[in-house]
Every structure is written in structure tokens, then in C-alpha cells.
């Protein structure tokens, strides 16, 4: 629904809003004037309100029946002129026609809600809209900033400049440099020389010892007897790999009774 009231192809631009002339304050100038004022009318209530204002009576005393008549008459004329009517106007017209007929009917045949009730509600609404339109007019007529009253044209402005006073001490400075250096200095890694038994020497050793007997021998018997623990560990690993290698070559067989149990090796005689 178009609010700006181009409900009718009004020949006048919709620009008089601010002046608060409009229909309400315009003197009634007969039929011809009516159409020029259309643009000020925005909706059903406004139209009714304007019609009511024309009667120059207090809204509380206005005859709703007369008002309804005028509204319907107005809508009819507008239709006769083949102006396009917006839905709101027609809805209101239909509702008012119903209200009118109800008001004309004898009391006994009234339904609920009574037409008096409906009329009262309509009146209350019109009063409230009227009050607001008047309030708007009074508001707009006040001395307004930028039109009637002015602020300082070129204020200097208030400004707070934040100035930061930085501090740092020389220890922090030097320490920071030290840490940069420490962090980025090239690193040299020293790898400790550890006693190990290489795979080659383990192979030699295990083959030589297997050659001595045909019996099963425990893997641990192949280790150098008095080696320090770290060399012993290395020797165990190397000897195990050597045993696997000999088994692969078909020179020895390996047996182990249980998981983590002792591992025995025996020469295969070819």
C-alpha cells in the first residue's frame, strides 16, 4: 500500500507536506477544490478526519452518520472519475457502509457489537489521530535547530591527543639483544662416541661361535662377557639381527618357547 498517497492521479506534486497546509486547514472551496487536495490524504482515517474537520465541529460531537455519508459520497465521486482507489479506501468504505446500515436499522435488530460501539471506536480513533496531527503541526512549528536557531558555525572542537611516553631501560635493551642472539645463533650438535657392536662384527662373532657346536645356544651366550651395559645392549641388538640374517641364509635356526622367553640358536648342518 502506497503511503505517500498517490492513491489518485493527483495533478499536484506531493510537496506541501512540510507546510502543513493540506486539507485540514484549507478553506472548503467547493467541489473543484476537493481534487486538488487529494494528495494530502493518505488513508482512510486521515480522509475521515479531514472530512470531520470540514464540519468545523468537535470530533466528540460529530455525527458519524453524516461523516460516513460524506466518505462514501467522496469515494463514489472518485470512482466516477475513474481514479484508481487503493484497497484501504475500499475496505474502509465497505466497513462504513455496513456501519451506516447498522446505524439506520431499528435497535432491536442489532447484532453484537452494536453499531454505537463501532461508531464510538471510530470516533476515538479519529480523536487520537487528530491529536497527533495537531501535535505534529505544533512540533514542526517550533523554532528548529538549523532553521530558526543555530549552533556555533565553526566550533574549534575539543580534542584529546593521547601522547605516549615510552620507557625502557638499558638492561632490558641489552638483555633483549642477548636473547635475539641466543635464539638465532647457529647451533652445533655434539654426538657422543658410544661403544657399539656393528652388525658385521656381530655376524662374524655369531657365525664363529655357532661353528663350535651343534647344540642349541642362548642368544645371550654370544655377548661379550664383561662388556659395559651400553655395549652389551648394542651387542644384543646386533647379535639378534645377525641371528636373523643367518636364519634367512639357511645357516641357522632360531627357537623361542614363549613371548619374551630366551631365544636359542642352533647351526644347521648342510
Amino acid at each position: 500500500m502506497n503511503e505517500d498517497g498517490l492513491l489518485f492521479d493527483a495533478p499536484v506534486a506531493h510537496g506541501t507536506g512540510d507546510e502543513w497546509g493540506g486539507l485540514a486547514s484549507a478553506p472548503a472551496q467547493g467541489e473543484s477544490a476537493l481534487y486538488l487536495e487529494l494528495d494530502g490524504w493518505e488513508g482512510p482515517l486521515n480522509l475521515l478526519l479531514d472530512l470531520a474537520r470540514r464540519q468545523k465541529v468537535d470530533l466528540r460531537q460529530i455525527s458519524i452518520l453524516a461523516l460516513v455519508d460524506q466518505y462514501l459520497g467522496y469515494i463514489q465521486r472518485a470512482e466516477a472519475l475513474r481514479l484508481e482507489l487503493a484497497a484501504d479506501y475500499l475496505v474502509m468504505a465497505a466497513w462504513l457502509a455496513y456501519l451506516k446500515s447498522a446505524l439506520l436499522l431499528p435497535k432491536e435488530e442489532q447484532e453484537d457489537p452494536s453499531p454505537e460501539e463501532l461508531a464510538l471506536r471510530l470516533q476515538l480513533r479519529l480523536q487520537r489521530l487528530g491529536a497527533m496531527r495537531e501535535a505534529a503541526a505544533r512540533l514542526m512549528a517550533r523554532d528548529r535547530l538549523g532553521r530558526d536557531i543555530f549552533l556555533r558555525g565553526a566550533p574549534e572542537g575539543l580534542r584529546i591527543d593521547r601522547k605516549t611516553h615510552w620507557t625502557c631501560d638499558s638492561f632490558a635493551l641489552i638483555q633483549a639483544y642477548g636473547q635475539v642472539k641466543a635464539r638465532t645463533a647457529p647451533r652445533i650438535y655434539h654426538v657422543m662416541d658410544r661403544p657399539v657392536m656393528t652388525l658385521d662384527s656381530a655376524l662374524d662373532r655369531v657365525s664363529a661361535m655357532l661353528g663350535v657346536t651343534l647344540d642349541w645356544m642362548d642368544l645371550r651366550d654370544f655377548l661379550p662377557p664383561h662388556a659395559e651395559p651400553r655395549l652389551r645392549k648394542s651387542a644384543l641388538a646386533s647379535s639378534f639381527v645377525a641371528a636373523l640374517e643367518l636364519a634367512r641364509l639357511g645357516k641357522a635356526e632360531i627357537a623361542q618357547e614363549e613371548i619374551f622367553g630366551s631365544m636359542r640358536i642352533r647351526r644347521i648342518v648342510q
Binding site: G22, D88, L124, R147, D148
Partner: protein, 215 residues
Amino acid sequence: MTGEAPDETVRAVEATLFAAEEPMSVEALAGLLGGLESALVRQALDELQGHYSRRGTRLVERSKRWHFETAPDLAHLLRREREQVRRLSRAATEVLAIIAYHEPVSRAEIESIRGVQTAKGTLDVLMEAGWIKLAGRREVPGRPVIYATTPEFLDHFGLSSRRDLPGIDELRAAGLLDPVDEAFEAFQGEDDEGDEASEADGDEEKDDFSAEEPA
């Protein structure tokens, strides 16, 4: 001819408000003036307001913030050069008045008073002018957005607070700021006292807004 010299606090407040680009509260002034006591600032403002009351500019308080502006009776001299004030459509002026006198209100409530739908553009224009703002949501089904006026609105129309709105007391006294339903119930009550039926059927409409009293 120069009158007695104002004291330093008065001069400082005067200079600050002259230079400020926006209205300032007592607290802001006190803070800016090096944590001055609010009471002193207030006193200075009083003195300044008195001093300027008969001059070409005056000191005014709007929604608790102070600023200098030209005297209203000089409007005819100053008006001609600028016409930068926003021209509002009739619809917008009505909507603005409804918001100001009823705030906070939802769009549905505005529409129920005007009897016509409100184009989105109308509220936008008022928001853009800085005169209304969103003021949260009404805690009813649908949680509609509600609108209220801003301090700039008061500034623009020269109102110290919403209590200064023209005729607001009379309108309230006449019940014209109450929703139709409430007014209707009131009438019914007068007509036939203790009519429970009218209360019972309750006739609840969506425009049953809880007419917030302006602060």
C-alpha cells in the same frame, strides 16, 4: 561596560562549550576540566545561562546536555541564508509525533493510530535524520521492534526533555495518548458500571499497547 569578570571556572566552561562540537553533559565538562566537582560546573552553567539569557546567543540544556545556540527571537535575521533543515513529508511528521508522544512504540502501534500502513521509507527518513532510533523489542508475540526519539530530536526541536513536548500534559489528561481499546473500556465503564461482560470478552487487539508513560 564589560561587567565584572567571570571567575575562572565560568570562563573555562564557557570556552569549552563554545568550542565543543557537540552538547556536553555536566560530567563530561567536569572531566574535561580536570576532574572539577560537578556542583561547581553546575553553578558555572547557571551563571552562564543567566548571563546569556538576554544576549544574542543563549545556553540551553537538552536531555541533560548543554550547548550554546542563537536566540530564537533572532530567527528572522538568521534564517534567510540557510534552508538546510529537512523537509519532512506529512506522513513523516505524523509518524514522528506519534513516536515522540507515545514512545516507545512499534510500527503496528503507529499504524493503528494512523489507520494506514507506514512505508518503510518513512521510518528510515526519521532514522537518517537522527531523530528516532530502535529502542529494542516489545516482549509480546512476534517481538516487534520498537522506536523512540533521540537526544538529537530534542535538540532539533528545542525541547529540554520529552515533558516539554507541546501539549503532552493536556493530551495525557484527556486520555488521548491511551490506546483506543483502553479509552473504549473506560467509556463502557462509565456507561454501565461493573459490566463484567465487556471486561471479560476483553476484545484484545494487537494495538493494545501498554501506553508507556513518558519519563
